[in-house]
């Protein structure tokens, strides 16, 4: 197996994740897309770890999984708050920063 095939798969997932973050209006879906991006990074880390035959990359992947759990918790709490206040989780309606 080549390193590149994993990296390209990760790049593809990353790009799809970016698309999801930018295109979807549903807050929950945006959070899911962020998970996609994080997974792409994890694949990269584990692949490099396999090439170097050390466990450091895997440990970083584990850290990312933990941090992702925290991120989802807080993110979903924010989406719930949004829903409670505005009865909508449409991100295009949140534009208080408009110039």
């Amino acid at each position: 197996m080549l390193l590149n095939q994993f990296l390209l798969l990760a790049a593809a997932l990353f790009a799809i994740g970016v698309y999801g973050v930018l295109a979807r209006r549903n807050g929950v879906l945006v959070l899911m897309s962020i998970e996609l991006i994080l997974n792409a990074v994890n694949i990269n880390l584990v692949a490099f770890s396999a090439v170097r035959e050390t466990v450091d990359g895997e440990i970083f992947a584990l850290f990312i999984i933990a941090v992702a759990a925290a991120e989802v918790g807080v993110g979903l709490a924010m989406v719930l708050l949004l829903y409670r206040n505005r009865r909508s989780i449409d991100l295009t309606e949140i534009d208080l920063l408009r110039g």
Binding site: L29, M78, L81
Partner: protein, 181 residues
């Protein structure tokens, strides 16, 4: 940019049966993952999107095992599929009907997102192909869980503690943000 070299990754059938099997497994997994990921970001049903996410995450777990990182693979299944996706399903349930099904009205936004996504793919893919050529992954043996444990609790003890504090902070933060009062 040596594109052929990268594509060769899928067909060096010379390395014996194991390599062939691994490459076939990788091919199936990657196709399934990319398709599921694409469906996830395009489907209009949010619950379906969560299920597609499960497929992608399971595929990633498979990739980890393919790379000899069993512990990470198992953790991926436990934490991501077991916990985070359930969390997502709860989130979807609690915000049900919050959004009308008028997604296609926003074609301009999609065009922009597609543009950026393709740009990301081209640049990162190009960078990858440019940098690593035909470096091979030939791990002699799967990484040992004991070794991971040792390393976390010696070399990476400070980041580990930091992550545990972060989790606690996130827990408190989530409660404070989402409570009703």
């Amino acid at each position: 940019m040596t594109v052929p070299a990268a594509l060769q990754g899928l067909d060096p059938l010379t390395g014996g049966d194991v390599v062939v099997a691994q490459n076939i497994a990788f091919g199936i997994l990657s196709v399934v993952m990319v398709v599921a990921a694409l469906r996830m970001v395009t489907t209009r049903n949010v619950v379906h999107a969560a299920l597609y996410l499960v497929i992608v995450l399971a595929g990633a777990a498979g990739i980890f095992i393919l790379l000899g990182a069993e512990f990470v693979g198992v953790t991926q299944v436990l934490v991501y599929i077991g916990a985070i996706v359930v969390l997502f399903l709860f989130g979807i349930m609690l915000t049900r009907g919050a959004l009308g099904e008028d997604e296609e009205a926003n074609t301009e936004k999609r065009r922009m997102a597609t543009l950026v996504g393709v740009l990301v793919l081209v640049v990162t893919g190009g960078a990858v192909l440019d940098s690593f050529g035909d470096t091979a992954v030939n791990r002699s043996a799967p990484s040992l869980t004991a070794e991971i444990g040792d390393t976390i609790f010696s070399q990476y003890i400070v980041p580990f503690e930091a992550v545990s504090v972060l989790l606690l902070a996130a827990l408190i933060g989530a409660i404070v943000v989402a409570r009703t009062d």
